[in-house]
Symmetry: C3
Subunit: 389 residues, 3 copies
Amino acid sequence: MKTLKKQLDELQKLKFNSYGKDFLLTWEKSEDELRAVVALAELFSEMHQAGKSFRVFDTGLAISIFRDKSTRTRFSFASAVNALGLGLADMDEEKSQVAHGETVRETANMISFLAEVIGIRDDMYLGEGNKYMREVAAAVQEGFDTGVLHQRPNVINLQCDIDHPTQSMADLTYLKNHFGSLESLRGKKIAMSWAYSPSYGKPLSVPQGIIGLMTRFGMNVSLACPEGYGLLPEVVEIARQHGKKSGGSFAVVSGMEEAFRDADVVYPKSWAPYQVMQRRTSLLQKGDKDGLKALEKECLANNAKFKNWECDEKKMKLTRSGKALYMHCLPADISGVNCAQGEVSAAVFEKYRIATYREASFKPFVIAAMIFLARVKDFAGVLKGLAKD
Amino acid sequence: MKTLKKQLDELQKLKFNSYGKDFLLTWEKSEDELRAVVALAELFSEMHQAGKSFRVFDTGLAISIFRDKSTRTRFSFASAVNALGLGLADMDEEKSQVAHGETVRETANMISFLAEVIGIRDDMYLGEGNKYMREVAAAVQEGFDTGVLHQRPNVINLQCDIDHPTQSMADLTYLKNHFGSLESLRGKKIAMSWAYSPSYGKPLSVPQGIIGLMTRFGMNVSLACPEGYGLLPEVVEIARQHGKKSGGSFAVVSGMEEAFRDADVVYPKSWAPYQVMQRRTSLLQKGDKDGLKALEKECLANNAKFKNWECDEKKMKLTRSGKALYMHCLPADISGVNCAQGEVSAAVFEKYRIATYREASFKPFVIAAMIFLARVKDFAGVLKGLAKD
Amino acid sequence: MKTLKKQLDELQKLKFNSYGKDFLLTWEKSEDELRAVVALAELFSEMHQAGKSFRVFDTGLAISIFRDKSTRTRFSFASAVNALGLGLADMDEEKSQVAHGETVRETANMISFLAEVIGIRDDMYLGEGNKYMREVAAAVQEGFDTGVLHQRPNVINLQCDIDHPTQSMADLTYLKNHFGSLESLRGKKIAMSWAYSPSYGKPLSVPQGIIGLMTRFGMNVSLACPEGYGLLPEVVEIARQHGKKSGGSFAVVSGMEEAFRDADVVYPKSWAPYQVMQRRTSLLQKGDKDGLKALEKECLANNAKFKNWECDEKKMKLTRSGKALYMHCLPADISGVNCAQGEVSAAVFEKYRIATYREASFKPFVIAAMIFLARVKDFAGVLKGLAKD
């Protein structure tokens, strides 16, 4: 396989060590670690297309904990661990008795005796999701340090309150694939814009993941949202720092139009203001149903002021040569298709529909790459072995 | 393995190409395709009994979508895909957010990046189940044609509103096994008869599957049901055509007794009239609970007029030498066992109980054969390889 | 592997035949059968730690039926069957239609065509759980005897109303590991004591499993509980007989303090009196919600009289040199941690917390050993083969 040789060369030039490490936030990873995930994801995708197996495990468990509904990520994780040879064991908290606090560390160990990896989605409560993942990681670390666990399973963030690294890394892999290389992303403008949706309470992790990641690869990131729809200030600051350091840039602009102007890529997507997510988290924790209803009503009324934040053909004409790449993590709220008015017009979405599927197609391979690099010490040697088969 | 050689010879004499094809209705398949499934199912069963593996996949996913409760088919599918080396990923629509229409084509692709096969049960709504399977198939075809999917997973009908091909093909394999050959089925009479049940709303797919399939192999099929309990007219017409073409026959007769007379095989089973299923579908779609209750009441009252449609020893005496083979897809409503009065008397059922288990035992192997022929291009070569191990 | 050779020698000295046998109650097994499970569980644990696979199946299903919530046992079973190479298929009774009586034997066969093992947890109803397991076992035996099943899957008791053998065998393996050998357990005192919990209705299977098993290996077992909190009389009698025969002893003593005095091991754990479980079973079967509430109220009020049955540092000082090993099947009710007052003080639990995790860590390997010995005829030859890889 010619590609395999090229990708292996690319991987071996990188200086990184992901072995035994969790994947919780992209900005905790070195640039080379991220490049390695992208390169390996592409390689796995090509191997799969060529009918070549990249199975490295004979047995072993991958555990998933989904604290929110999921289709895409659930099947991406299932696909990735199956391709690597692991068995999937879903931790259904309704079928067990898991409480917070004291018992997270106990439960984490109880399920991990033969586990290689633990994938967690926990994106409902601001300030909770990523923290929970770290509690699980600390618990299995203690289990390993005290000899209870023979191996220390790694935690993969399948979406939290802060970041959605399997999504943003799949998006980055897609952009590399689309534009030809990571280098070609330098100087390209990406518009991460809020868009109107008839629902409320969508997580912040996708836009935060995008601005936190794309700024590292020299892109010019424009963030646009209505007043009061800000992202977590600490993540915005991270994006700003990344922009400075990478030779790209980060700017908060005042409207979808301004963000779209001369953009090479647009990513229009709804989210809830982080202040709303904070109030919602507090109400959810109290179990205050009336409060939640009142908040939803207030927010939907507020959202309704911004129905013109729709990605339509007119706005797309503002982009570079009117031909920006449209991206979405899916499912999108498409005006006149699955809602009366939504994030994107039917005409724009239909034009890019297959492209968004392709964007999504990298996720299983990105997850497989993350697991592979975390769990296979001599990854280069093992990859060469796989190539020979 | 002597059997293997014989079955391979049998398979290689057949002219067919099932590679890359869905299995949605038996009457869309050529006779040789059906013969191949039967031959391979028998072979797999014998290999399993001899402790020989027929695993052909190293990794890969099989996806199941059950839109109705299932034990037999769920475990048959799980068994088949495990034996072939695939991992099972169940699409639980309650844990995801699947809507009809626009998003079927999206979801189908999102779950299929590493999928080889998609098994679907959707038998609740008349006019919907088979249609839904075709929507899924069209969606993954588009995904494959546009390069989103590296492979085009095949759809297997695990029971719809029209046909239940894994059941009818398992039944055919069982009949071949029982009578010695498919040829020996020619001229044999099978009575597909309605039978009384204290429940209502049982799908039409089993009787429709039986009359649509057995008529192709030269059997004389007698269909009996009370007035107003007709099957879908288009399927009845298909059975009639099959009977003419195959040298067998198809006849609608007026009572269980007439159907049983001189029958070699009897298949007494309850179902709801298709007109009732149409009304039920419409009420279910409207969410009209009162309407559904009223319909149930009306139907149960109507059913109650036909309590004498029970397969008992007296009626069994009417069959050829009083020794017809009793068949059922299970679970049966057995008088005095799991209901006061049902489809079959306890004495008749007990006599054939183990035989009905054997009948069911072919289902996992039939499903494995369907998948194998759809997914393994050089099936004969691969089978020879499996035989050598 | 040096250990492998030692363990194989140990295994080969034992006289037993577990091939094709269910594991339902430890006291139905010979002492050598139990020793074999312990030896093999230790070996599997060491192989796993050394990164050596003990996979013996290429394909095949393991079925789990959980009629009660479970985390530990669910994941232990999932881990064990994955390590052996089996696919897990959970029988979710809500997604199927399983009734008692007539259809247990039918359903058991329908799910078992390609099954190697069936793990069952059924601990809610006194007089029901173990009986249900035997019904399943008899059903698949009939299926095998009549040629319906190619193989007869074995039933593993994952906790019933009488015994919890995967727990007690993991506990025994842990004790062997802790004290160095099974022989060193002779003459050691273990206190199986009731302890206060703010909940009611905990199963009897753990204390019954402990007194029924540890008495066989020459331990001096002291059972303590408040008046009216007795275990099943027939199990108490079995423990008494075992004590006599093994050179150990069994005694019912009147308080936690007396049980703890000079104990080498303490196992303080809450359970419901068997008389209460009988009343509860009867109310559950009738669906009498008011009766259940009244019973819970009565029992909690009665429990509250025994809040001083807490394993605290003062009571631990009564044990041999104040240094007894504390054991628990987890999760424990820890005073001031997950309840106001519970089975054990926070100080005692924290001291032994990691030890209880280690205790639990043997369960997946014990289950794997049970399955291996039941399913692999030439176990010694196969183990030698695994060692060579």
